[in-house]
Symmetry: C2
Subunit: 400 residues, 2 copies
C-alpha cells in the first residue's frame, strides 16, 4: 500500500526498501539517497527471503479481508508475497480491510510453498485458470501481535481514456495477433495475456474488446481496468493475478459483479503469477510499458534520465524473459514531443536486447526477432521513432 | 563446430548466424557487418525455431557417433539443439564422427519434446542426475540426404593452469560456500554447480578439488576439464550438460575412463540443461566469466569495448537469472593492468543489476544481494577493483 510506504518514509523509519515501490514520498527519499532501495524481480523476492538472503524478518503487516473461524487468513485484493511473509515473520500485524468486498473469499489460490532447493518440486499448474492451492493463508496465530481495522480504499487513480496514440499501439498488436493466428503460430484464443500497469498497456486490453478474439485468458501480475472489462464483457474467460488495482469506477464495477467474477479471477502469490516456469510453460504474451528503448533494442523501465528511479522493474523481467511474445510499448515521444522515447542508448538498462522481441509506438512496430544489432537499429528508427527524431537517430547510428 | 562456421563464413555462404559462435573468421565477418548475428539465450533458440520465429529450416547438419540398427541417432559429445533441428529440418546431413568414443552411447538423455504452448507440461526432472528421456534422437530417415564421415577432433585448446589470480577467485567462492553451509543456507554437498567456459571458471572447479565438499553435483551447459576432474576424483558424483568440451589431455582422460564416467555424465538437449524451470527448481549455483562489470553491478559478457562481439551470451543469462547464487568472475584488470575490468558503466549490457548477486575478482568479492545502487558501487570499488583504479572509480562515483 503506497500510504504505508509514504508514512514510513516521512517518519524516517525506513532504511531499505525492496522489491518495488510506487509512493512519491518514498521515491523522493530513495532518489535523495536517504533510503536504500533494492530493485528485485518480483518472482524472486519471496525466495530470497526464504533462502535467508535478507536475514530474519521481525514484523510483517498483512492486509486481509477477514479471518475464518479456523483461524485462516482471507487475503485481500493483493496477495503479493504475503503467504511467505506470514511464514518468515516473527510477529504479524493483521490489517483487516473492511472496505474490500467480503466475497473476495474463495477467489484466492494460495500455493502453500514452492520450497527450497534441493527439495523443490514442479509446479503442477497446466492452464492459466488451474487452482493448485488453498483459498486461505495458513498462519501461526501465536505470531499475531495486533489486529487493526481499516476502511481506507486503495489509492488508485483513474485511467486516462485510451487516446489516439494508445489506440494506434493497440491496433498494431492486435493486427500482429491476427497475422500470427492466420499463420498457425498462435491459437484462435491467443495465449494467456500479461499486461503491465499504466495507461498504454491498459489501452491494449481495451483494444481487444473490439477485436474478434474470444475465450481469451489472462495470466498477469496486476489486474487492472482493461482486463476487468474483458472479463465483464465475456471476451476473457479467466484471469490469474497477484493483485487487483482498479480505478474507483472499475472498483465499483468489480464489486457490483463480484458474483459473476468470483470463479473467473484467481488471485495467487506473486511467486506463482511471475514464475518463469509457469510463464514459459503457458506461453504468456507479455506486454509492458517502458520509459525508453534504444535503437539496439535495450529497454529502460525504471529510471528517468538514468538516475531518477520511478517504481522499479516489478515483474516486467519475469515476463519479458520468459514470454512467448515480449512486447514493450510507449508513445514515441514524451513531454509534447520534447523527448524521444527512442534513444541512441538507454540511460538505464532493465531489459537487454535478448529479452525484447517487439517495440511498439504509435508510429509502428519493430519485430526484432532474429535480427542483428544493425538490423534492429534500422527497424526501430524507421518504424518506431517519431519522424522528428529519425534523422538524428540515423546520424547517431551511422557514426556509431 | 567452429571449423564449420569458419568455412561457411569464408566462403560467403552465411547471411545470419544465431545463437552463439566461437569461430574467429566468423567473428571478424560479424564485426565487419558482413554477416548478421543474433544473440539469443541458449534456452530459447530451440523453442523460437519450433514456434516458427525463424521460418522454415531447410537443412540441418547433425553430428552423431553412430546410428542404431533401429535407425535412431546416437548423439555426439555435443547434443545442443540437435534433437529439435532433426525435427525442424526438411533435409538432414548426418556427420558420423568416428574420432569420438563409441561408448558415448547411453550417456545421453534426450527429452523428446517440451512442447509448444498451450500444450506444454511440467518437466519432471527433480534431481540433477534424473533421466527423463531417451538415449537416442528419433529421426525420420527419409529426411537424411547424406551421411558423411569425419575423424576430426574438436578444435579445443589447452586450459591455462590455474594461476594465482584464478586461485584467489576460487578460494573466495569456496570460503563463501563454507560460510553458507555453516549458516544452513546451503546443503553440505552444495547445490548443483554450473560453470561457464574459460580459464577462470575452470579454476574455480579446480579449487573445489582441494575443498572439503563431497558428493557435489553438476548441472551445467558445457562440461570442461575442471568438472571432469571433479568427477574422476569422486568429489562430484554426477554432472548434467549439453556438451563436453575438453582440452586434448582431458579428452584423453575422458576416453580412458569412459566406463567409470558413463553413468555419471548425462548429456541433454540445451533446452533442458538451460531451462529456467529446472535451474530455479534445482537451485543451481551459477558461475560465469565476464568481460567487465560496472560499479552498479551490470555485467558485459559479450562485447569488447562495447562494439566488438566475442562469442555471445550463451547460457549465462539462463543461469544468472534463475540461479540460487549467481557469480560473475574476472581478474580485476586485463592487458597487464592497462584495462580495469571494473568500470563506471559497462560498454554493453548483458546482465543487469537484477541478475548479478556476486562479483568476484582476485581483489575480493562483492555480495550485492539486497544492496542499493550506491551501496553496490562502494562494495564493488572497495572489494573488486584493482587498487590502481579505485581512486578513479571513486571519483566517478562521487561525481555521478
Amino acid at each position: 500500500a503506497p500510504e504505508c510506504d509514504g508514512v514510513l518514509a516521512a517518519s524516517g523509519s525506513l532504511k531499505l526498501r525492496s522489491p518495488f515501490q510506487s509512493d512519491p514520498t518514498l521515491r523522493n527519499d530513495i532518489n535523495a539517497g536517504k533510503i536504500a532501495y533494492t530493485d528485485v524481480h518480483l518472482s524472486q523476492i519471496e525466495q530470497q527471503v526464504r533462502f535467508g538472503f535478507f536475514g530474519a524478518m521481525d514484523v510483517a503487516i498483512i492486509e486481509v479481508v477477514g479471518i475464518t473461524e479456523e483461524g485462516k487468513l482471507i487475503p485481500s485484493m493483493s496477495v503479493g508475497p504475503n503467504n511467505q511473509w506470514v511464514k518468515s515473520a516473527q510477529k504479524i500485524i493483521l490489517e483487516v480491510n473492511t472496505q474490500q468486498h467480503a466475497k473476495l473469499e474463495t477467489m484466492h489460490d494460495v500455493f502453500p510453498d514452492i520450497g527450497t532447493p534441493p527439495n523443490r518440486r514442479p509446479l503442477l499448474l497446466l492452464n492459466p485458470d488451474d487452482r493448485i492451492g488453498s483459498h486461505y493463508i495458513d498462519c501461526d496465530l501465536d505470531k499475531i501481535v495486533a489486529v487493526v481495522f481499516t476502511d481506507a480504499p486503495d489509492r488508485n487513480s483513474k485511467f486516462a481514456e485510451p487516446d489516439a496514440i494508445s489506440q494506434r499501439i493497440a491496433e498494431q498488436i492486435i493486427e500482429f495477433f491476427e497475422h500470427e493466428v492466420k499463420h498457425g503460430r498462435l491459437p484462435e484464443n491467443l495465449l494467456p495475456l500479461q499486461s503491465g500497469v499504466g495507461n498504454v498497456a491498459n489501452a491494449v486490453l481495451a483494444g481487444l474488446q473490439h477485436s474478434r478474439f474470444e475465450n481469451i485468458t489472462g495470466f498477469t501480475e496486476v489486474l487492472q481496468d482493461g482486463m476487468l472489462d474483458l472479463l465483464l464483457s465475456g471476451k476473457m474467460v479467466s484471469a490469474s493475478a497477484t493483485a487487483l488495482s482498479f480505478s474507483p469506477d472499475a472498483l465499483q464495477r468489480f464489486n457490483d459483479n463480484i458474483d459473476f467474477l468470483r470463479d473467473k479471477i484467481i488471485l495467487r502469490p506473486q511467486e506463482i503469477t511471475n514464475s518463469p516456469e509457469l510463464i514459459r510453460r503457458l506461453g504468456v504474451i507479455g506486454m509492458n510499458a517502458m520509459i525508453e528503448a534504444d535503437i539496439y533494442g535495450n529497454v529502460n523501465s525504471t529510471h528517468i534520465m538514468g538516475t531518477r528511479m520511478m517504481n522499479g522493474i516489478g515483474g516486467s523481467g519475469d515476463f519479458a524473459r520468459n514470454a512467448y511474445y515480449s512486447f514493450f510499448v510507449s508513445p514515441s515521444v514524451a513531454k509534447d514531443g520534447a523527448i524521444s522515447c527512442i534513444v541512441p542508448m538507454v540511460s538505464h538498462h532493465d531489459h537487454t536486447e535478448h529479452d525484447v522481441m517487439f517495440i511498439v509506438t504509435e508510429q509502428g512496430m519493430a519485430d526484432l526477432r532474429g535480427k542483428s544489432p544493425r538490423q534492429r537499429a534500422r527497424l526501430i528508427i524507421d518504424h518506431c521513432a517519431h519522424p522528428d527524431y529519425r534523422e538524428m537517430l540515423r546520424d547517431y547510428y551511422e557514426r556509431a
